[in-house]
Symmetry: C2
Subunit: 208 residues, 2 copies
């Protein structure tokens, strides 16, 4: 047994970069959750900015959420086209990321998949306030599905700095934008989805 | 606004290494916890191995814990001399790390500070089974304080691979080994405590 050299701490190897997002989610890989918990949300219906960050359209929105039996605060949501995660090998037209932070600095992202269907009043409101920093009403519930079943795993931000300390909750039930809205969204960003990353033996937890 | 280049993802900058452990904990820096929670433990009283890992003496012990309203499974505990964390600028003679894992792979370490005082029956039992892989009884409660108040922050393992995804719960109430036991422990490792790492604006949460 070789002793760890505490006099050469700056030479210790450090592992990072193997817990990245997005990933390919699947029921085949998923394990069941081992404790009683459900996602709950209390989001405001008033947004306070819309900006194009260079990585996507981002909307300032406040609110609270209980994720895995702990409280989180909503910071913003933003949109990727097409989806970043896949579910059972299926990609979606878009993926909305609700970014939360806990009091200890822990980040959690709730992801809603988007498919073509009913027109979204939230997306219409967002479009009307592009690059504005004024408050405006959004229904928000039309981009958060009623069904809150999810896949959960530990990953990263999907844009630089790709920080690895992120709890992911990817909702199984998609929401809808109209085909016209999706086409419009892709005029802004036709491809701002990061490549799928290696799972590297991370557990995927399924909520049911 | 410059758009993020999705065609050159391999060149995206990645930040890591700024959420390391141990750190200097202090009441001056700590914020109050924003939700009701307490640490609870259900550890076995039977250990199954003792080994010198090269980074310290490690004891195989099973059990369960509720940390921040989520369930974790105990993997092992090990000992650093002197302590790795400091509390209000005070270092301790040793620090015991109880290493836990959740079903999603999340790691959590509960740390108990050690000062000179009553002799520990647990440490005596550990010594008697050094480098053995047989089951043996340990009281374990004598190295886990009755008072479960803690400092919490997000950090890393303190030995390679220094993985950053670790919830820390550093107990405020120390436990004791006899001075003779501490002297004996330091004959194995006089200095297996990692240097204090930069806080880098991470929140420190206090349980009360």
């Amino acid at each position: 047994m070789q002793k760890l050299d505490y006099s050469a701490q700056d030479k210790w190897p450090r592992t990072s970069g193997n817990m990245q997002s997005p990933i390919a989610l699947s029921d085949d890989l998923a394990i069941k959750n081992d404790f009683q918990t459900s996602l709950s949300f209390d989001y405001d219906y008033t947004a306070n900015y819309v900006r194009d960050t260079g990585a996507g359209i981002e909307v300032g929105l406040k609110g609270h959420a209980q994720l895995g039996n702990r409280p989180f605060t909503l910071k913003q949501f933003h949109i990727h086209t097409p989806s970043e995660h896949t579910i059972n090998k299926q990609a979606y037209d878009a993926e909305i990321h609700f970014v939360h932070e806990a009091s200890d600095g822990r980040l959690a992202v709730v992801a809603a998949m988007v498919e073509a269907g009913h027109k979204s009043a939230t997306y219409e409101a967002v479009l009307q306030h592009m690059n504005e920093t004024t408050d405006f009403d959004i229904p928000v519930n039309d981009i958060m599905p009623e069904g809150k079943e999810y896949y959960h795993y530990i990953g990263s931000l999907t844009t630089p700095p790709l920080t690895e300390n992120v709890e992911w909750y990817v909702l199984k039930t998609p929401v809808t934008l109209s085909q016209e809205q999706i086409t419009h969204l892709m005029a802004f960003y036709s491809h701002n989805n990061r490549d799928l990353q290696a799972l590297n033996e991370r557990p995927i937890v399924s909520s049911n």
